[in-house]
């Protein structure tokens, strides 16, 4: 009885032990199948399987070898559980490779293998080792052998039927995962291909060897490739002559210059094409080539041109009646038509002042439309910016005095002369100082500093006005933007174009313009002009 009980107990223990083992194996298996369902990468799958295998099968060395038909590449991964000698690993690797070559009937050379190695090598002088137990399972993909999973040990381990069964299960899991992965990749690829092909933007991709990889329908349409064969060399020559960077150069430098360019084409019909060029790399920063996104902007440019012509025409038509009005008011003010009493005189001055204001507005509208159309012309000459600034400031001195503002300037002596448009730069300085005058209260001061800053000449206009809220610092150069500043009177009303025009002028010269400010303390508006002329 006791013996029976003992035996039963023992058996029970054994069973529960086995159950535990099975449960553990199952959980690992579950883990593997779960994770390979979510990964889309061969390396990840194999790595995961090999690492999981270690939990259930006692191995010293695990090797996986897999051939990717599509990429024509073979990849071998080696995991070592305990330090092994190089010779042992090498012979195991060769064995796995030849086993796969036998299975597939075509040879993969050892040199073509991409290797992924993880583990420790045994120190020199350690006792001799050799593989004692091992077994391999093939990985099949649609009945074709694509790989081998192999485990081996330098110890005398007994791999049970259960171990082998489990190993086969894992291998078949891996196979089906790879199969799934391949079909997902293929589907994904064709989805992307269809998407790119049907995009409304033209897309062209060159690899680093100047081969055309993508050339979608919109690109064919934009470039007028309706029937003729794609001639990559001619296409590259055209892009190169249009001033775009050569794909191999761009790949080498990892940057495309210019990134955005509008190119003009005469055939098959006149058109303007907006080209955005980008270097692309994979996640390991390996360059893949150059992608160009093309857009036909002929219509947009035409509309812009019409808009600008319209603005010019309207401005001209507005100026003529204003000229007549101004002339008539002037004649009256001059007393040509008889003498005026004081209120008549005041009324006429008011009319004249407002005619002038309208005229200024028209000039500014014209300027901004020219700047936007890129048609602003600079009449560049050698000029002394300090002398120019002195004149402009002198002109504004009267207004400053009337407002009770101290307007002063300080220029570094011996500044180099620069190539610039005197009228336009005067306009910028007048705008900036005029702007400061608007926002500075009586008793305040405005300082204009001109100095050299590297390859540039910088002009700072510093006021003690109300300041500009940080959020508005960028916006003040926008068209029609008017900052509502505390303390600024309703009288302070410009067109909101002055700073925007100044920005256009400065940038056309190759300089920069920006603002700094502290609310309540004042603002600093600065601009730079290059000492050496820059090609724009």
């Amino acid at each position: 009885m006791t013996v029976e009980t003992e035996k039963l107990k023992e058996e029970n223990q054994c069973l529960s032990q086995e159950l535990k083992q099975r449960l553990f194996e199952l959980s690992v298996l579950y883990d593997i199948s779960n994770s390979i369902s979510y990964t889309l990468n061969y390396d990840d799958i194999l790595r995961f399987i090999m690492d999981s295998l270690y939990k259930i099968i006692d191995y010293d060395l695990c090797i996986s070898l897999i051939v990717s038909e599509e990429e024509k590449k073979a990849k071998m991964a080696v995991r070592i559980a305990h330090p092994l000698k190089t010779e042992v690993i090498d012979s195991a690797k060769r064995k796995v490779l030849s086993a796969l070559n036998n299975l597939r009937g075509e040879a993969v050379a050892e040199e073509e293998l991409a290797m992924d190695f993880k583990g420790e090598l045994a120190e020199a002088g350690s006792p001799l080792q050799s593989i004692i137990s091992s077994f391999d399972v093939p990985l099949f993909l649609r009945d074709k052998a694509v790989g081998i999973l192999s485990v081996s040990s330098v110890k005398n381990v007994f791999y049970s039927d259960d171990d082998i069964k489990l190993f086969y299960t894992i291998a078949s899991q891996a196979s089906s995962a790879i199969e799934r992965l391949q079909s997902v990749l293929a589907a994904e690829k064709s989805k992307m291909k269809i998407m790119v092909e049907r995009m409304s933007e033209g897309v062209i991709m060159f690899d680093e060897k100047n081969q055309v990889v993508i050339f979608n329908a919109a690109a064919r349409d934009i470039l007028g490739y309706y029937h003729q064969e794609l001639d990559a060399a001619a296409l590259l020559k055209f892009f190169h002559e249009s001033g775009l960077s050569n794909p191999p150069d761009a790949v080498k430098k990892k940057v495309c210059f210019p990134p955005i360019k509008e190119i003009y084409m005469e055939k098959p019909s006149a058109r303007i094409i907006h080209v955005e060029t980008n270097c692309i790399q994979d996640e390991t920063e390996k360059p893949l080539g150059v992608v160009m996104v093309l857009r036909n902007v002929t219509k947009e440019r035409e509309i812009e041109r019409m808009k600008n012509d319209f603005v010019s025409l309207v401005s001209h038509e507005l100026r003529t009646p204003l000229a007549a009005m101004k002339g008539a008011a002037e004649n009256l003010l001059e007393g040509i038509t008889g003498s005026l009493n004081q209120s008549q005189n005041e009324c006429l001055l008011l009319i004249e002042r407002n005619i002038d204001r309208l005229n200024r507005l028209i000039s500014e509208l014209l300027d901004i439309s020219r700047i936007e159309a890129g048609r602003i012309q600079l009449n560049k000459q050698q000029l002394d910016i300090a002398a120019l600034a002195s004149d402009a400031i002198g002109f504004l001195q009267k207004i400053a005095e009337e407002k009770g503002i101290k307007l002063s300037s300080s220029f570094t002596a011996g500044l180099p002369r620069i190539q610039a448009d005197a009228d336009r730069i005067t306009q910028v300085i007048t705008n900036l100082v005029g702007n400061a005058l608007k926002f500075t209260l009586s008793g305040g001061s405005i300082n204009v500093n001109i100095f050299r800053e590297g390859d540039f000449i910088q002009t700072d206009v510093i006021d003690t006005g109300s300041g500009i809220p940080t959020a508005d610092l960028e916006k003040i150069f926008d068209k029609f933007y008017q900052v509502s500043r505390p303390g600024a009177k309703a009288l302070v009303k410009g067109t909101g174009l002055g700073l925007s025009i100044s920005k256009g002028i400065v940038e056309k010269h190759g300089g920069k313009i920006w603002a700094e400010s502290e609310l309540g303390k004042g603002s600093k508006l600065s601009f730079t002009l290059p000492i050496k002329e820059v090609a724009l």
Partner: protein, 125 residues
Amino acid sequence: MAKKILLVDDEPDIVTTIKMRLEATGYEVTVATDGNTAYNKAKSENPDLIILDLMLPDMDGYQVCRLLKFDQRYKNIPVIMLTAKSQKEDKEWGEKVGADCYITKPFDLKELTAKIKELLEGKDA
């Protein structure tokens, strides 16, 4: 004898204001409102100075100016170009066809009369 000025502009209101000022200043004013008339009057009325608008019917101000300036008989008559065009190249064109002075609209009548005086005196000297 009062100096005679040929005023050419197709805008009647501009003509009125300028004419009023010039006559008040003491000049004799004769008017043309298109290019052909302007050219013919310049030849037949022998003005001492011409104020010439650019945008004119028939023949534009550039053409009128060029025809006169390339003719030995009339090339010494000073020409003031008056226009609403203010682009740099317009100005350069004006200089190429031989205009003596280029004033853009909107202009000051004071500025205009000062320029006239200067040109007429320069011619006499």
